[in-house]
């Protein structure tokens, strides 16, 4: 009998469930198709200057919108669904603690999302290589890893949501709110702040702090990192702010932000779930 840690046993079961339900293949197919399509757009539209980097950039734009919703769907029912169905009582009647259940579910579902995204990107990488006659491997692998990290952040957010809600419907409401707020509405935040601070709309050259605000959401941090990776800091940062980049626009800051989005919602969820009455 193996003596694997309980959270690992739980993570494995979560992963096996995702294989069984074919959720993981859904992620692979959607990501493969959509990123391949967006990678090939610059070939389909005439007069657009396009290289393989541009293609990867196009794919990442799409991934920035798609990955959060897929990761949230993969995670938002992890706890709330089992609480509503009553299977949580069976699992928590066995030795695992609430923390181990939460962590195991985060790990298992992160694995599902990460592997699904990576496989989907491999497909679009092959498509890109065929279409453009080559693939900048470093940029491609880097973008894939960043996309995986974005996915894991939203799994953390989804599990956190799942842990603070008692019903499926409430978990869904919160997940939709998180998606709209963090992915779509957040794009407006820098503009609104700029308008409030300076009294006018942002122009061609923007203040450096605007880029930081843009990058505080997980999707914003992801976009900032991918741009830096594909375009270099000259085009991605300095050209936009018209000067050298301050230290708070360092890539490490945005990496930290992405990690924080994975961990903080999980911890908040745990602190509530630990105290919750499960009936």
């Amino acid at each position: 009998m193996t003596r694997a840690p309980l959270w690992l046993t739980i993570a494995r079961k979560e992963f096996a469930d995702a294989l069984r339900s074919r959720m993981i293949w859904g992620i692979v197919v959607i990501i493969a198709v959509m990123t391949s399509l967006s990678a090939s757009i610059s070939l389909l539209v005439p007069d657009v200057e396009g290289g393989a980097e541009m293609a990867i950039g196009g794919a990442s734009q799409f991934a920035g919108l798609l990955v959060p919703i897929m990761a949230l769907i993969a995670a938002y029912l992890a706890i709330a669904g089992e609480l509503e169905s009553g299977s949580l009582k069976v699992i928590l009647g066995l030795p695992p603690s609430r923390g181990e259940v939460l962590f195991g579910k985060f790990l298992g579902r992160s694995g599902v999302v990460a592997i699904g995204l990576a496989l989907g990107f491999v497909v679009s990488g092959v498509v890109t290589a065929v279409l453009y006659g080559g693939l900048p491997v470093g940029a491609f692998v880097g973008t894939t890893l960043l996309t995986v990290l974005l996915g894991v952040s939203f799994v953390g957010i989804g599990i956190g949501i799942s842990a603070v809600t008692a019903t499926r419907s409430r978990a869904m409401t919160l997940a939709i709110t998180a998606y709209l707020g963090l992915t779509l509405l957040w794009d407006l935040a820098p503009t609104v702040v700029h308008l409030l601070v300076t009294g006018e709309m942002p122009g061609g050259v923007v203040p450096a702090w605007l880029l930081l605000i843009q990058g505080v959401s997980p999707t914003g941090a992801y976009n900032a990192l991918v741009q830096r990776l594909l375009l270099g800091s000259g085009t991605a940062v300095e050209a936009r702010i018209g000067g050298s980049a301050p230290s708070y626009l360092d890539p490490a800051v945005f990496l930290g932000i992405l990690f924080a989005w994975a961990v903080v919602p999980l911890l908040v969820g745990y602190s509530k779930f630990r105290q919750a009455d499960l009936s």
Binding site: M1, K89, V90, L92, L94, P95, D277, S279
Partner: protein, 331 residues
């Protein structure tokens, strides 16, 4: 009759130096401001006994079990299980306890076998899945199907098998008979008895007294969150007297019916030519028959019924509990 006084009786109570399986002290659970689910409950269950935990639906049985299992946190008081604190030593408890919880669910997409393999891995036991299936009467073909297609009875058997994983020192069964046919109900009793014969403890909650009377060494009756009685079944019966009902069919009911004057008669109901007399005291039965003749009636027929445990139950709880098969209807 003052039933409360029996709560402190020592009928059938083992002596205090025996190892304790479950002890609650002043246990109170409040939901919001208005709902007092468990009210200052002091309960001790000793190792090796089969303990029946009875009460109508909503009496607080499941809430008590929820606290014991750390599914919910008490508002006041405490609970220990096998000497461990229910809130701070949850892992130690869950490694030694098997539970069939109330309102549980299973994974629709997993087979019965996968469920058991998962439970065995999480409990780090070395049970053989087929032995567990055998004990609860699930055949191997059913175990290889997904639970989404199971009947209520099959789910109940599978959940029971999960509770048995790791041969727990304490088996907690919350309404284990719900959804089971008579064979299943008998199976639950056999499992409980078998478990106790191996020196383990069984804590068996039910709202149907007849399901626990055959196996339980002692029972506690809970009503509206409070303990109203704790005793052996015989002790409870004695506490309420013999409790027989005599049904007499007479040619004509006498005008001067003086049955109520007899010592030991607690109630007289006349329905046409039928007289029903409730008797607490055995010798009063003959007195009833003699008296009715003295009153001038001829007796055409007599039947005597001993009180059922359901009557006993309702005497304690003040409610009429559902009987046997009706129990399903209100779940």
């Amino acid at each position: 009759m003052d039933t409360r006084s029996r709560a402190s009786s020592d009928w059938g109570t083992p002596t205090d130096d025996e190892p304790v399986a479950i002890r609650t002290t002043g246990l109170t659970k409040r939901y919001g401001k208005d709902v007092l689910a468990v009210d200052d409950l002091d309960l001790t269950v000793y190792e090796g006994e089969i303990f029946g935990f009875l009460g109508p639906n909503g009496a607080g049985k499941s809430t008590t079990i929820d606290v014991i299992m750390d599914y919910v946190r008490p508002s006041a008081g405490s609970a220990t299980v096998l000497g461990f604190d229910a809130q701070t030593e949850t892992r130690e408890i869950h490694e030694r306890v098997g539970i069939l919880p109330d309102g549980y669910g299973l994974y629709e997409r997993l087979t019965g076998r996968k469920h058991l393999e998962y439970a065995i891995a999480l409990k780090r036991s070395d049970d053989a899945v087929d032995d567990l299936l055998d004990r609860v009467g699930l055949d191997a073909a059913a175990a290889d199907r997904v639970v989404g297609g199971y009947s209520k009875g099959m789910m109940q058997r599978l959940a029971l098998a999960i509770a048995l994983v790791g041969d727990p020192q304490l088996l907690i069964l919350d309404e284990p008979s719900s959804g089971l046919d008579p064979n299943g109900v008998r199976l639950v009793r056999e499992i409980a008895r078998d478990h106790a014969n191996r020196g383990k403890t069984v804590f068996f909650s039910s709202h149907i007294l007849s399901q626990v009377e055959a196996v339980c060494d002692r029972v506690a009756i809970l009503n509206r969150g409070r303990l109203v009685a704790i005793d052996s079944i015989d002790g409870l019966r004695d506490a309420l007297g013999t409790g027989s009902t005599i049904t007499l069919t007479v040619d004509a009911v006498p005008d001067s019916l003086t049955l109520v004057e007899i010592a030991g008669v607690s109630d007289v109901v006349v329905d046409g030519r039928i007289i029903r007399v409730s008797v607490d005291d055995a010798p009063a039965k003959v007195d009833v028959i003699d008296r009715i003749r003295d009153d001038g009636a001829s007796i055409l027929d007599v039947t005597i019924e001993e009180s059922s445990l359901e009557d006993l139950f309702s005497a304690y709880t003040g409610d009429v509990p559902p009987r046997g098969n009706d129990a399903e209807a209100d779940r």
